[in-house]
């Protein structure tokens, strides 16, 4: 199987405009089979719009997309036969129980035998841990229980692709933990494409990430690659005493690019950007201590996380203001 054959989702300049608002501009995504693909962006970035177009719930203004090689506009039903979808704010028929909801969903995919369908429903209920709530009306379900049911109904046909729109956004920490755990359990069976603005979730479970902002794709890469590509290494120090001389001395070193310092309680916190990581590891601390005028309280290499990258890429000052 070549790389194009292993692509589950491919979009080609996919765009969507609502009257005067350009919700999505020229999106080019490539989602590999069996990946957990985090679709990241602030609120209003165009994530849900993209998902709705992929599922045929909204039509692109221009561009195209294919899922399993099927065109999203002309062959939407063939796509939906192989997809499970969890909406951002999942809604079901409130008079049904969880089991009835899953039975109703299963009958869109399977016509029988009834015993096998019931077996599938039981398996799905167990997968999301809703055994004790399965025969209660959905009306009384908490947000977390609804989300679990949402994953169950998305998974009842054992889809080749799971599309989850903000699966953990409305949940408390325990609920988020549970949902991510279910996603991790499913990763070996299916491709998961999910949108979120919770960066720690993406870093925890995703293997590939795409960042969307103002309807435009800013970057798309395996998460490790993205974390390792972030410019120059940064070292952090906590120093106390007469720091001015030490600061001047360190600044003059040829492999030091920049120092940022800020007062923290009764000491200073430095972030030293370096061009040579090896030299910094060997020389930075001795150089700071050389004059004996400062005490070093802490020293270490700053870990770059997705939040730094995300804020850099999306110009953090505008984050979340575009919904």
């Amino acid at each position: 199987m070549d790389s194009s054959n292993s692509l589950v989702i491919e979009t080609d300049n996919l765009s969507k405009a609502y009257k005067d608002v350009q919700a999505l501009t020229g999106l080019n995504l490539a989602v590999q089979q069996h990946s957990i693909f985090g679709f990241l962006g602030p609120n209003g970035a165009g994530k849900s719009t993209t998902i709705k177009m992929l599922l045929g719930l909204a039509q692109p203004t221009s561009g195209s997309a294919r899922i399993f090689g099927y065109d999203i506009q002309r062959e939407s039903i063939s796509i939906r036969k192989r997809v499970g979808y969890l909406a951002q704010d999942p809604r079901y028929y409130e008079h049904m129980t969880a089991r009835e909801t899953l039975r109703f969903t299963a009958h869109f995919f399977y016509s029988g035998p009834a015993a096998e369908i019931e077996k599938r429903i039981d398996e799905t209920i167990m997968l999301v841990g809703l055994e004790d709530k399965a025969d209660r009306p959905i009306k009384g379900f908490s947000g977390g229980e609804r989300q679990r049911l949402g994953i169950a109904q998305a998974q009842v046909n054992y889809p080749d692709l799971l599309i989850l729109d903000e699966p953990a956004a409305a949940l408390d920490p325990q609920g988020r933990h549970d949902v991510l755990e279910v996603m991790e359990r499913l990763r070996k069976h299916t491709t998961i494409f999910y949108s979120t603005h919770i960066l720690s979730d993406v870093q925890r479970v995703s293997d590939t990430v795409a960042i969307l902002d103002h309807g435009k794709l800013i970057c798309q890469a395996p998460i490790e690659e993205l974390l390792n590509s972030n410019s120059k290494p940064v070292f952090t120090l906590g120093v106390r005493g007469d720091t001015e001389n030490a600061r001047l001395r360190v600044s003059s070193l040829p492999w030091v690019v920049n120092i940022q310092d800020k007062p923290v309680n009764n000491h200073f916190s430095w972030e030293v950007v370096v061009s040579d990581e090896g030299m910094a590891e060997a020389q930075l601390l001795p150089q700071v201590l050389l004059g004996g005028e400062v005490t070093v309280l802490e020293f270490g290499r700053k870990k770059v996380d997705l939040e730094d990258i995300f804020l850099t890429l999306t110009e953090g000052d505008q984050n979340g203001k575009h919904e």
Partner: protein, 282 residues
């Protein structure tokens, strides 16, 4: 978690994708709640209660009046006839009162699903948009047929036959009830179409109810209306017997154009609903 071969995949194609499942759910949602049984019972009490008055008419009067009933040539004659006036009242109440029931049955079908988000959920499954609309329409149709036509009609037919001591002409009476059904379908499909065209429940209810209550006022000012709406089925020109009442009395209707025209309008409303809903963004 592997997909097992023992499960048989749904084999539907084209517009039928998801129809059976959706119809089963929509149909169940009518019959598994008390709402429609209560409404049906209320209409039964009202409509059959109206016919209970025939039991107060002496048998001799009925015997004398029966031969003239079939020969009536105007609604004016009917309202002056001890039996005819009950027919006029009954079918007028059917045409207007049950129409409101049809509007209520249809008003939430599209708007409710759109506003609650369940429509987006269902249509994320392998379901055609045509199946989504037609399954709901089929379930609403069955509900109206049973609660608005069959239950009401059987009760009245039993009373009529009981009073005259022999079966009332069943084909003709069924024809009249058929026009009641067509009237209800007109309002049901109109309400569906409005639900697809508008996002406001107020607009859908307002226009549908206005059509049911005020529509007949335009029968004289816009003549074409009587050819394409059910408004002339049971009322209109006092000098003639409307087609619905003619059928109820056992006479053929003077013209079938309003019947065909109304049936065509039901089809037109349904086609517009589907075409509009195909473009709906959820």
């Amino acid at each position: 978690m592997e997909n097992t071969n023992s499960l048989k995949a749904v084999n539907d194609r084209g517009w039928r994708m998801g129809f059976a499942n959706l119809f089963h759910e929509a149909n169940g949602s009518y019959w598994h709640t008390k709402k429609w049984w209560i409404m049906s019972a209320l209409w039964f009490l009202i409509l059959n209660g109206l016919f209970i008055t025939i039991w107060t008419i002496p048998a001799k009067t009925i015997a004398e009046a029966m031969p003239s009933l079939k020969k009536m040539t105007s609604m004016m004659e009917m309202v002056q006839h001890p039996f005819g006036v009950i027919f006029v009242d009954y079918f007028l109440i059917c045409a207007i009162g049950l129409a409101v029931t049809a509007v209520i049955a249809g008003q939430d079908a599209i708007i409710g699903e759109r506003q609650s988000g369940t429509g987006a959920w269902v249509l994320s499954k392998p379901v055609s948009r045509e199946a989504f609309i037609l399954s709901k329409l089929a379930a609403s149709t069955i509900c109206l047929l049973v609660t608005g036509v069959l239950i009401q009609g059987v009760g009245v037919y039993a009373q009529l036959s009981g009073k005259i001591g022999s079966p009332w002409p069943i084909a003709e009476f069924s024809g009249a009830m058929g026009l009641v059904f067509l009237t209800l379908m007109f309002y049901l499909t109109l309400t569906y179409m409005l639900g697809a065209l508008f996002t406001s429940r107020g607009a859908v209810l307002g226009i549908s109810l206005a059509a049911a209550i005020a529509g007949p006022m335009f029968l004289y000012s816009i003549p074409i209306i009587k050819e394409i709406t059910p408004w002339a089925f049971f009322y209109g020109d006092l000098e003639k017997v409307p087609p619905g009442l003619a059928l109820a009395l056992g006479n053929p209707p003077a013209s079938v154009i309003p019947i065909v025209g109304t049936a065509l309008m039901c089809v037109v409303f349904t086609v517009i609903t589907i075409l509009r809903f195909r473009r709906e963004e959820l």
